[in-house]
């Protein structure tokens, strides 16, 4: 076959669909499927060509990521004429990206734009007319990707990756200069100091992988809490946002009594909504624990959604609740507008300031819920960031690059520990720099040589 490596990508449009498909193509497709997939039926534990298999995708610790259907198409009778596995999971960004990440962890490479079609063509599966379309597709997709990458440049992963790459080139330049100019009076860098530098970068990579803000929002979703007195419509709001057909319900054990957590999908953005126990002064001990938890949840939330009852005047309790909104990202919902309105909107505006949007709804009539979704989306992605599959892909690409670089750096550290000569350690460093540069298409040699000559005084 034409290609050696196995590729994977999300095959369905972003976010909104009822199901999402992760497609894997290449010689390792089936091996990867075997690693991530657990059969639903105990009787049938083998993959059959051109059959759908029911089961679960699990991560390395055995946690279930999603319930799925898996299709296996043995090459050449498949779209790309290679072995193809398609995993059909629930729609929405969380399960589909988690599955894609597992697949990549097991050895697939994230597909380039249009790469499945490219393979289909190069492997003789589709005809010439279609090929034209593929080239245009690659072109268009690349521009979008580039745009997404630029979006990320501002304080995003790319900036970090770029800086890390520069630090590595710095280390390399110090090693390489003593190789190419052994007679110049340049101090050899002590392996211990290189070790420390590499360790720092490995740490930074690990931190970046776990905390990158955009990455977190996409991986875990925006964390939103709903607060309000009892009976103002919190549960109705939750139910209205959680449209059954696209919801993935996660019950957090031990918290079901007082805090209910649900994932919803707003225009492709994952939002984790937590319905809290009503906050009010109480002497009931059990309830107090619940309230305690609510308060914690409020503290850690990315967004606070406050529900007020428009049909009754503002009470002290409401005022207390509104206190929580100070200096926070929040949204106030005036519910029950279908009833005679007794709440003074101006009074609330005075209390919360002009920064916090107010939406009027009638959740029982289903009125205003679109607006709530719209506002939540805009609050987090004010049009600056287009949360689309493209952006996610760049994100995964960055993570892939970081993971690769991390592995090479660990190899380099091992080399240092085994007292290998620095020029050999440098080979792993070069691979790490190459992995980081792959995103932007930068190669190491020129940058390295520029660095050597700008930092060191050399020559005859």
């Amino acid at each position: 076959m034409f290609f050696e490596d196995t590729i994977a990508a999300i095959a369905t449009p972003p976010g909104e669909g009822g199901i999402g498909i992760v497609r894997i193509s290449g010689s390792k497709a089936l091996d990867i499927a075997k690693e991530v997939f657990v059969f639903g039926s105990k009787k049938n534990q083998t993959f059959k060509d051109r059959y759908l298999h029911y089961g679960k995708v699990v991560d390395e610790e055995g946690n279930i990521i999603d319930e799925v259907l898996l299709a296996y198409m043995k090459g050449p009778r498949s779209y790309t004429a290679e072995d193809v596995v398609e995993i059909h999971c629930h729609g929405g960004i969380i399960p589909i990206t988690s599955i894609l990440k597992e697949v990549i962890k097991k050895g697939a490479r994230l597909a380039e734009p249009g790469e499945f079609t490219k393979r289909a063509f190069l492997n003789g599966r589709i005809d010439l007319v279609q090929a034209e379309a593929v080239m245009d597709l690659i072109c268009a997709k690349t521009e979008k990707l580039a745009k997404a990458s630029i979006n990320q440049m501002e304080g995003g992963l790319s900036g970090h990756i770029k800086r890390m790459r520069e630090r590595l080139i710095d280390i390399m330049a110090h090693i390489e200069v003593t190789i190419d100019y052994p007679e110049e009076d340049i101090d050899e860098v002590a392996s211990q100091s290189i070790r420390n530098d590499i360790n720092h970068i490995v740490n930074d990579i690990e931190n970046l992988l776990s905390t990158a803000e955009h990455g977190r929002l996409i991986r875990q979703g925006i964390k939103a809490v709903i607060i309000g007195k009892t009976n103002v419509g919190k549960s109705s709001l939750l139910n209205a946002l959680v449209k059954e057909e696209r919801a993935i319900v996660t019950d957090i054990p031990g918290t079901t009594r007082d805090v209910i957590e649900e994932f919803i999908n707003i225009k492709g953005v994952a939002v984790r909504i937590i319905d809290t126990a009503g906050i009010r002064e109480t002497l009931d001990q059990v309830e107090q624990i619940g309230i305690q938890r609510s308060k914690q949840n409020i503290e850690h939330a990315d967004l606070i959604i406050t529900v007020l009852d428009a049909s009754s005047p503002l009470e002290d309790q409401d005022r207390e609740i509104l206190e929580y909104l100070k200096d926070r990202k929040a949204l106030v919902i005036l519910n029950k507008i279908d009833k005679p309105v007794k709440l003074d909107r101006k009074q609330i505006e005075e209390l919360i300031g002009s920064e916090i949007p107010i939406v009027e709804t009638s959740l029982t009539l289903g009125k205003g819920i679109d607006k709530v979704e719209d506002i939540i989306y805009k609050m987090f992605f004010r049009g600056e960031l287009e949360i689309s599959d493209d952006l996610m892909i760049t994100n995964i690409r960055h993570q892939e690059a970081l993971n690769k670089a991390r592995r090479y750096l660990l190899d380099a550290l091992e080399g240092i520990d085994n007292e290998l000569p620095m020029d050999i350690v440098s080979i792993d460093l070069r691979s790490a720099v190459d992995s980081l540069g792959a995103i932007t298409g930068e190669t190491v040699t020129e940058d390295l040589i520029d660095k050597i000559f700008s930092e060191f005084c050399l020559g005859k």
Partner: protein, 630 residues
């Protein structure tokens, strides 16, 4: 009056390091060859430092040798000092460097050319290259002689419109007072070549009798001599020392006070200099916080007192040169015999060449050496031998020999020049090689001798020598794998002495040799004398076993690389017609005309997505039956 004076298969224009290897390759492969030099007294002249080799350059010399070239054999005959550099580092970056007797080197190379069958040496300045219907047909010299040929190699070094600058003084001259070649530049322009101007420089030559060596640190050669050529396993020779001294604050003050008189800063030099070969005034300006710079005093030969002060290259006026040199410890009373100078010259844009070093525009016209924008004797020789081989392949009507980046430093050098181009004199560096662990100086013969034999450059004697060596090594590796050593008391004692972890059960010598602290010598201690007696055999076995893991890792990367290199692109492809390619990519691809997908991917400004589009386009063309089907 222009008269036909001769007919050759190959004409080589220039008798420097590129020209000599090119001419020898052509003649040795059986083709009637002529080499032209403006003056036969400057054949293979070491115009700058009297040394050959150095980091990565030593690798190039070994590669030229492995392919059947001459540089290694001749330097082995005339070095006056030799050292293996970087021995404290890994085997991939060990590099040989020799101090040459520069007169002997010239004489030896001239004599080699004279003795070579099929080769004629002619003194004459070539002023015109004859081209008919896009093919080279001959060359004309200044005195009007016409020589016809099937292929020509331009290896004019730094002689095209060269100008020497010493402070306020400048003169149209080649290095060392030799005549420049003023007319060939214009002819190349007429033929459609764009030219650029580069600059390099050399220090003064000083009288050894006026040096106080007591104030300097001697630098001796290696006790155990490792020669360049694979045909020489060991050499015994008396060696001479070099000397190390340092510039002082006073040196730097003199330079600073006179900066306004330095041509580099007064603007009278237009050529682009190399960052790795800065003049002393450049170093003082760019690294102003450095209080002192190294100066190596190197002898120019056995029968001369002239010394080469490496580190003191300058284009300052002669009075500043004198004052500045005399501020260096040991040089207080130094007498300058030849002044330092900067030299400017015309060179072509190497992007105008194919990977075979043939011009993209004119068939049968090859370029090698400094005219391509490179610098260094070794870089020149490496291009020379390849241009020679490929001129022959061209005449034969066979595919050119192209070494890729995973096969040889020569491949890295030529690919860099042709694919990326250069905007300063290009120097080889080990950091330019991605597959450094595969491209070692110890295995250049393993990589290239068979290739050289197949094209007909490596002779039977060398090939036979190589085949026997390979056989010995394969046999010994097999033996080491099969020989199991037991944890006897004696063995354990020895391992303990070596600081090596003790073995509990039997272990093969092969596994044992993998340990960093265990050498082939140790293996012989433990298991009795091995089969290998020659230094180069033992080194080969030791290195390939000890670094097997890393070598395998690089082999895997190289395999991936090779795949992309093997996907050919027709050279006449019109990229402007390919929809889907970004505009920048179309322009760059049209400029370089890459020969493979791999080469295309290394062009700056061509993205991975462009490469995908290109691959699809090529496949589409293929299915279309070769028609240009955009």
């Amino acid at each position: 009056m222009r008269l036909k004076a001769g007919d050759f298969d190959i004409i080589v224009i220039g008798g420097g390091h590129a020209g000599c290897e090119a001419a020898l390759a052509g003649a040795r492969m059986g083709y009637k060859t002529a080499v032209f030099a403006t003056n036969l007294d400057n054949i293979a002249m070491l115009a700058c430092n009297p040394s050959i080799g150095g980091t990565s350059k030593g690798h190039l010399v070994r590669e030229v040798d492995a392919l059947g070239g001459q540089m290694g054999l001749n330097i082995d005959k005339c070095f006056i000092q030799i050292r293996m550099l970087n021995t404290g580092k890994g085997p991939a970056v060990h590099s040989l460097r020799a101090q040459a007797d520069k007169h002997d080197y010239h004489r030896l190379m001239k004599s080699t050319l004279e003795k070579q069958e099929n080769l004629e040496i002619i003194q004459g300045e070539v002023t015109e290259i004859l081209v008919k219907n896009g093919r080279v047909t001959g060359a004309v010299t200044a005195i009007g002689d016409i020589y016809t040929c099937k292929a020509a190699i331009v290896a004019t070094g730094v002689y095209l419109k060269s100008r020497i600058i010493i402070g306020e003084y400048s003169v149209n001259s080649g290095p060392n007072g030799y005549s420049p070649a003023n007319r060939l530049s214009d002819n190349l322009r007429d033929l459609g070549f764009k030219l650029q101007r580069f600059k390099t420089g050399t220090p003064a030559r000083i009288d050894g009798n006026s040096i106080d060596y007591e104030k300097m640190i001697p630098q001796h050669g290696d006790k155990e001599i490792i020669p360049f050529s694979f045909l020489n396993d060991t050499i015994e020779r008396e060696q001479v020392p070099c000397w190390l001294t340092y510039t002082t604050k006073k040196t730097h003050d003199i330079i600073r006070e006179n900066l306004h008189r330095a041509p580099m800063y007064s603007g009278s030099i237009e050529g682009v200099g190399a960052r790795y070969c800065p003049s002393i005034e450049d170093k003082v300006v760019r690294f102003s916080d450095k209080e002192s710079h190294q100066v190596f005093i190197e002898p120019e030969g056995k029968y001369t007192n002239e010394m080469y002060p490496q580190g003191l290259s300058t284009s300052m006026p002669i009075d500043v040169q004198r004052e500045m040199y005399r501020s260096v410890p040991g040089l207080e009373n130094v007498r300058i015999m030849r002044p330092a100078y900067a030299i400017e010259y015309d060179c072509i844009y190497s992007k105008d060449l194919k990977l075979s070093l043939e011009s993209k525009a004119i068939d049968g016209l090859f370029f090698a050496g400094q005219i391509n924008g490179s610098s260094g004797y070794e870089e020149a020789a490496a291009q020379g031998i390849m241009a020679g081989i490929n001129a022959v392949q061209y005449i034969r009507g066979e595919e050119p020999l192209i070494l890729d980046r995973s096969q040889a430093y020569i491949g890295v050098l030529i690919d860099d020049l042709v694919t990326k181009g250069t905007n300063e004199p290009y120097r080889m560096m080990t950091s330019r090689a991605e597959y450094r662990l595969l491209l070692r100086q110890d295995n250049a013969d393993m990589r290239l001798t068979e290739i050289g034999y197949k094209v007909g450059l490596v002779d039977e004697k060398r090939y036979d020598w190589f085949m026997k060596k390979r056989e010995r090594i394969d046999k010994e590796i097999k033996r080491l794998k099969e020989f199991i050593i037991s944890p006897t008391e004696e063995v354990l004692k020895y391992l303990e002495k070596k600081g090596s972890s003790l073995i509990k059960s039997g272990i093969s010598l092969y596994e044992l040799l993998k340990r960093p602290e265990i050498t082939y010598n140790d293996i012989e201690h433990l298991a009795g004398p091995g089969e290998l007696k020659l230094r180069q055999d033992r080194e080969q076995v030791e290195v390939s076993i000890k670094y097997e893991g890393y070598i395998k890792k690089q082999l895997r990367q190289a395999k991936q690389f090779k795949k992309m290199e093997s996907k050919r692109i027709p050279i006449d492809l019109d990229y402007s017609k390919i929809s889907g390619l970004r505009l920048e990519a179309r322009q760059k691809l049209n400029e370089i005309k890459p020969e493979s997908i791999g080469q295309a991917s290394r062009i700056s400004g061509v993205s991975p997505a462009d490469i995908s589009v290109l691959m699809i386009y090529l496949e589409k063309m293929k299915r279309d039956g070769g028609r240009d089907g955009a």
